[in-house]
C-alpha cells in the first residue's frame, strides 16, 4: 500500500456479526492522525459496535483493525474510551475523583493502587472539564452533563493519543455541550485523534472536520465538506429506497 504516514486508525474489511446476524458489513475506514471524526448513522447502524470492535470488545468475523500500524492489544496505552453514560449504575458508591482515577488503572496495571501523582493527574483532568469543585461529590448527585464531564475527565487522565467516545452529547445541557466541543477542539489542536459517535446531524459541520456515514456498511467517509453531502445522507438514512431503484 502507498501510505506515507501511518493512519491513526485503519479499519479494513471489517465484518461483525451477532449470531450470524451482520451488524457491520465489510467496513473500511481510514482515520488520519489529528482529525475530529464523527460517526453518523441511523439507530441500529452499528456505530457503537464499530467503536467496540476497534477496542477489541467484540470479535469481528472478518477484517483487520490497526491503530498506528499495530493491533489494539499493543496500543492500549495510547487509546482511551468513553462509554455511553447510560452503561453504568450512577448510584455506585463512589465519588467524582475516584471515577476519574480509574483512568489511571490501565497504566498502574495489576494490584498497584493509585498514589499522589495519580491524584494530581486526576485533579488536573477535572480542571480541564470544569469539575474541580466537585471532587468529593457522590456521582449520583451529578446532573447528566456533569456525569458526562466526569467520564471525559477519566478519558483525559489516560493521556491517550486516540480517543473513542460513544455518544458524549447524549442528554447533556447546553453548557456541557459547549464545554465538550471546546475540549474536543483542544485535543485536536494537540494532535490527538478523536472519534465520536454522534446523532445530531445539525451540528456535524460545526463540531467536526471529518465524518463517517454508516448504516451497517460504510456509505462514505472523509472531510466533512466533501463527505457530508445530501446524496450521501440520503443513502445513509433512506438507503433502502436509494438502493432499490
Amino acid at each position: 500500500m502507498q501510505t506515507s504516514e501511518p493512519k491513526a486508525i485503519e479499519v479494513t474489511d471489517l465484518t461483525v456479526a451477532y449470531q450470524d446476524k451482520p451488524v457491520l458489513w465489510d467496513i473500511d475506514l481510514d482515520v488520519p492522525p489529528g482529525v475530529l471524526l464523527s460517526i453518523v448513522g441511523p439507530n441500529g447502524a452499528g456505530k457503537t459496535t464499530l467503536i467496540k470492535a476497534i477496542l477489541g470488545l467484540v470479535r469481528p468475523a472478518a477484517g483487520n483493525i490497526l491503530i498506528y500500524n499495530k493491533p489494539y492489544e499493543a496500543q492500549r496505552r495510547i487509546v482511551s474510551y468513553v462509554p455511553q453514560r447510560g452503561s453504568v449504575d450512577w448510584d455506585f458508591p463512589t465519588n467524582v475523583l475516584d471515577v476519574v482515577m480509574m483512568g489511571r488503572y490501565g497504566a498502574l496495571g495489576w494490584v498497584r493502587r493509585p498514589g499522589k501523582k495519580d491524584r494530581e493527574l486526576a485533579m488536573h483532568a477535572l480542571e480541564k472539564v470544569g469539575m474541580e469543585a466537585y471532587t468529593t461529590r457522590q456521582i449520583s448527585q451529578l446532573s447528566g452533563g456533569q456525569q458526562q464531564r466526569v467520564f471525559l475527565a477519566r478519558a483525559l487522565v489516560q493521556d491517550a493519543t486516540v480517543y473513542l467516545m460513544d455518544e458524549p452529547f447524549q442528554g447533556v445541557d447546553a453548557t456541557t455541550e459547549r464545554a465538550i466541543v471546546t475540549l474536543l477542539q483542544d485535543l485536536r489542536a494537540n494532535g490527538k485523534t478523536v472519534v465520536v459517535v454522534h446523532h445530531d446531524l445539525q451540528t456535524v459541520t460545526d463540531y467536526f472536520d471529518w465524518v463517517m456515514l454508516l448504516n451497517i456498511r460504510r456509505i462514505a467517509s472523509g472531510p466533512v465538506d466533501e463527505t457530508f453531502t445530501p446524496n450521501n445522507l440520503r443513502e445513509t438514512y433512506g438507503g433502502r429506497i436509494a438502493f432499490m431503484k
Binding site: 477496542l55 449504575d89 458508591p93 463512589t94 488503572y105 493502587r113
Partner: protein, 312 residues
C-alpha cells in the same frame, strides 16, 4: 462449685459461637456488598440452595461428615449452579430471574432426592438436612471457627488484593475491558469469593436464610456512606454485629433458633439504617423536604409582601 464451672463452660461455648457467627457475618457482609452492587442479590439464594446436592454427593463419595469435605462439595455444586445460570442466560432468551428460580429449585430437589437415598441406606438422619436448611450456629465448635477464619480470611484478603480491579469490574465492565483487564476472569474470581462466603455462611444460618446475610448488611451499609471502601467495611461490621447479637439473643431463652434470630437482627439494622441514616435516610429526607418547603414558603411570603407594598 460445679454450677460455676458449668456456667463458665456455657459462657465459653457461647463465646465460640459468637466468634463464629461474627466471622461469618463479616465475610458474607463484605462480599455480599459486591453481589448487591451488581444486582445479583438473589444469586446468593440460588447458590446456597444449589449447594445441597454437592453436600450429598461429597458424603456419598467419601462417607465422611467432616465439615471441610462437605463445604468443598457444597462449593463445587454452588459453582456449577452459577456456571449453569450464566450459560443458560447467555445461550437462550430466558431472563435471569427465571433461570435463577429454575436452577435454585431443581438443584435443591435433586439434593433432596440424594438425601432421601442416603437416609434409606441408614447413614444419616433428618438432622443433616435440617442443618443445611437452618444452619447450626448454636453448635459451632472451635475447629469450625478455625475453618471459617482461615477460608473467610483468605477470601477477604483476595478481595483486598484485587480491590481496584473488582471495583472497576462492578462499576464499568466495558471500560475495564478496554484498558486490558480480563473481565471474564475477574467475574469468575468474584463469583468464587461469593461461593466461599455462602458455603461458610450455610453453617450459621442455613440455605433458606443465606441470601439475607449477603444482602442485609450491604443494603444497610449503603445508606450510611457513598464510598465503596466504607461500605464494605460497614457491611462487614453490620454482618458481625448481626451474628453476635443474634447469638446472644437466642441464648437468653430456650427454643429461639439462632439462624433466624441473626437474620432478624440484620433486618433490624437495615430498618434503622433506611430510616435514620444521615442524607439518604427516610427521616432525614422528610426533614429536608419540610425545611425546603418552609424556606420556599418564607420566600413566597416575602415576594407577596413586596408586591403588596408596591401596589399600595
Amino acid at each position: 462449685m460445679e454450677n460455676l464451672s458449668a456456667l463458665i463452660r456455657l459462657d465459653y461455648t457461647l463465646m465460640i459461637v459468637g466468634i463464629g457467627a461474627a466471622l461469618l457475618g463479616t465475610v458474607s457482609g463484605a462480599l455480599g456488598t459486591y453481589a448487591v452492587l451488581r444486582r445479583q442479590s438473589l444469586l446468593g439464594d440460588a447458590i446456597s440452595h444449589a449447594a445441597l446436592p454437592g453436600i450429598a454427593i461429597a458424603f456419598l463419595l467419601t462417607g465422611s461428615k467432616a465439615p471441610l469435605i462437605l463445604v468443598f462439595g457444597a462449593a463445587v455444586a454452588g459453582w456449577l449452579g452459577t456456571l449453569l445460570i450464566m450459560s443458560i442466560v447467555r445461550l437462550t432468551r430466558i431472563k435471569y430471574d427465571s433461570v435463577l428460580a429454575i436452577v435454585l429449585s431443581t438443584f435443591f430437589g435433586f439434593g433432596l432426592v440424594l438425601h432421601t437415598l442416603i437416609q434409606r441406606t441408614g447413614n444419616a438422619n433428618q438432622a443433616g438436612l435440617d442443618t443445611f436448611l437452618f444452619g447450626q450456629a448454636a453448635t459451632i465448635l472451635e475447629s469450625d471457627v478455625l475453618t471459617i477464619g482461615i477460608l473467610g480470611g483468605v477470601a477477604l484478603i483476595i478481595m483486598l488484593i484485587f480491590w481496584k480491579e473488582l471495583k472497576l469490574l462492578v462499576f464499568d465492565e466495558g471500560f475495564a475491558a478496554s484498558i486490558g483487564f480480563p473481565i471474564r476472569t475477574l467475574d469468575v474470581l468474584l463469583t468464587s469469593l461469593l461461593v466461599i462466603a455462602i458455603v461458610l455462611g450455610l453453617q450459621a444460618v442455613g440455605a433458606v436464610l443465606m441470601s439475607a446475610m449477603l444482602v442485609a448488611p450491604a443494603v444497610a451499609a449503603r445508606q450510611w456512606t457513598n464510598r465503596l471502601r466504607l461500605m464494605v467495611f460497614l457491611a462487614a461490621c453490620f454482618g458481625a454485629l448481626a451474628g453476635v447479637s443474634g447469638t446472644i439473643i437466642s441464648s437468653t431463652a430456650s427454643r429461639i433458633p439462632t439462624g433466624p434470630t441473626i437474620v432478624l437482627c440484620a433486618t433490624v439494622i437495615v430498618g434503622l439504617s433506611i430510616a435514620f441514616a444521615p442524607n439518604r435516610g427516610l427521616v432525614w429526607g422528610r426533614i429536608r423536604h419540610r425545611r425546603s418547603r418552609s424556606d420556599l414558603k418564607t420566600a413566597a411570603d416575602g415576594l407577596l409582601k413586596q408586591s403588596q407594598q408596591r401596589s399600595e
